[in-house]
């Protein structure tokens, strides 16, 4: 590949990597939300068991 081709590929790669990084951020957020929902489900179960 010529340098010109390499740099062009790199520029497009940067955009792709950014979008993938965004997926990582969203995934970690999803995990946190999952944990929170699980906690809330536990809480609700306790409530119904006691009440």
């Amino acid at each position: 590949m010529s340098p010109s081709e390499k740099y062009t590929a790199a520029a497009y790669l940067v955009v792709l990597v950014a979008v993938l990084l965004y997926v990582v951020v969203i995934a970690s957020k999803l995990q946190r939300l999952e944990r929170e929902v699980a906690q809330l489900v536990e809480l609700a179960k306790e409530r119904t068991a006691n009440g």
């Binding site: 940067v14 929170e36 809330l40």
Partner: protein, 222 residues
């Protein structure tokens, strides 16, 4: 539009934009292959301007209506703007390396002023995280966002004042200096980036809403 549909449209448009940029648009006689960076670089820059403008519009809405949602929407839009802005800086830097031989061209005012805006909006986050959540923070962030959107044209004027010849001026007063095929590709790329912004914006807002309802649920259960 529903979020999955929006995401599907942005995927389709981005795929179309990428293939048009590489297979349909003619290779530039001057710059060769690296000119194809243009099709992503400039739409990224314009999209980040759009993000900042949208953020300022929401900020104005907040100051008018005191709607807490508008504050969050303004924040999310500016957040997206900074992401698109850093991508603009990165792709612009790569383009500068391939066509002028340097990673950074101080002589290129447009790139430098993009850096200014980037710094300005990074300070937005410093401001936001330095204040306690509440109406006072929302007010100050909204005012700062409005200053930002006014700073953009002022900076643009400053570019024109100390303009250097190094940056290719594609859009002049005589219309776009591009062939029809190039212009069509550019428009598709721009549309793709804008829809990508809309998708990410909607995803972030859905996340924030989810956070808020979970907090509410926790308070109800506690």
């Amino acid at each position: 539009m529903k979020l999955p549909a929006l995401a599907a449209v942005s995927t389709g448009l981005l795929a179309l934009a990428g293939s048009l940029a590489f297979f349909y648009a003619p290779t530039d006689t001057d710059q060769g292959l690296s000119q194809r960076i243009f099709y992503f670089h400039v739409p990224l820059a314009l999209t980040s301007y759009a993000c900042f403008a949208w953020g300022a519009w929401k900020a104005l809405r907040y100051l008018r209506a005191r709607d807490e949602r508008a504050d969050i929407e303004s924040y999310v839009a500016i957040h997206q703007g900074v992401i698109f802005g850093s991508l603009t800086l990165l792709t612009g830097s790569i383009w500068a390396r391939v066509s002028w031989g340097h990673w950074w061209a101080w002589g290129d005012d447009q790139l430098v002023l993009f850096l200014v805006l980037f710094l300005f909006y990074c300070a937005y986050f410093m401001l936001r995280y330095s204040l306690d959540a509440g109406p006072a923070r929302a007010n100050m962030c909204a005012v700062y966002a409005l200053f930002g959107v006014v700073l953009i044209p002022v900076s643009f004027l400053a570019i024109r004042l100390s303009r250097s010849l190094i940056h290719p001026t594609v859009f002049t007063s005589h219309g776009p200096q591009m062939s029809g095929a190039q212009f069509f590709t550019f428009c598709v790329c721009l549309a793709a980036m804008l829809v990508l912004f809309a998708t990410l914006y909607a995803v972030e807002l859905a996340g924030k809403r989810l956070d808020a309802s979970l907090r509410e649920l926790r308070e109800l259960l506690a």
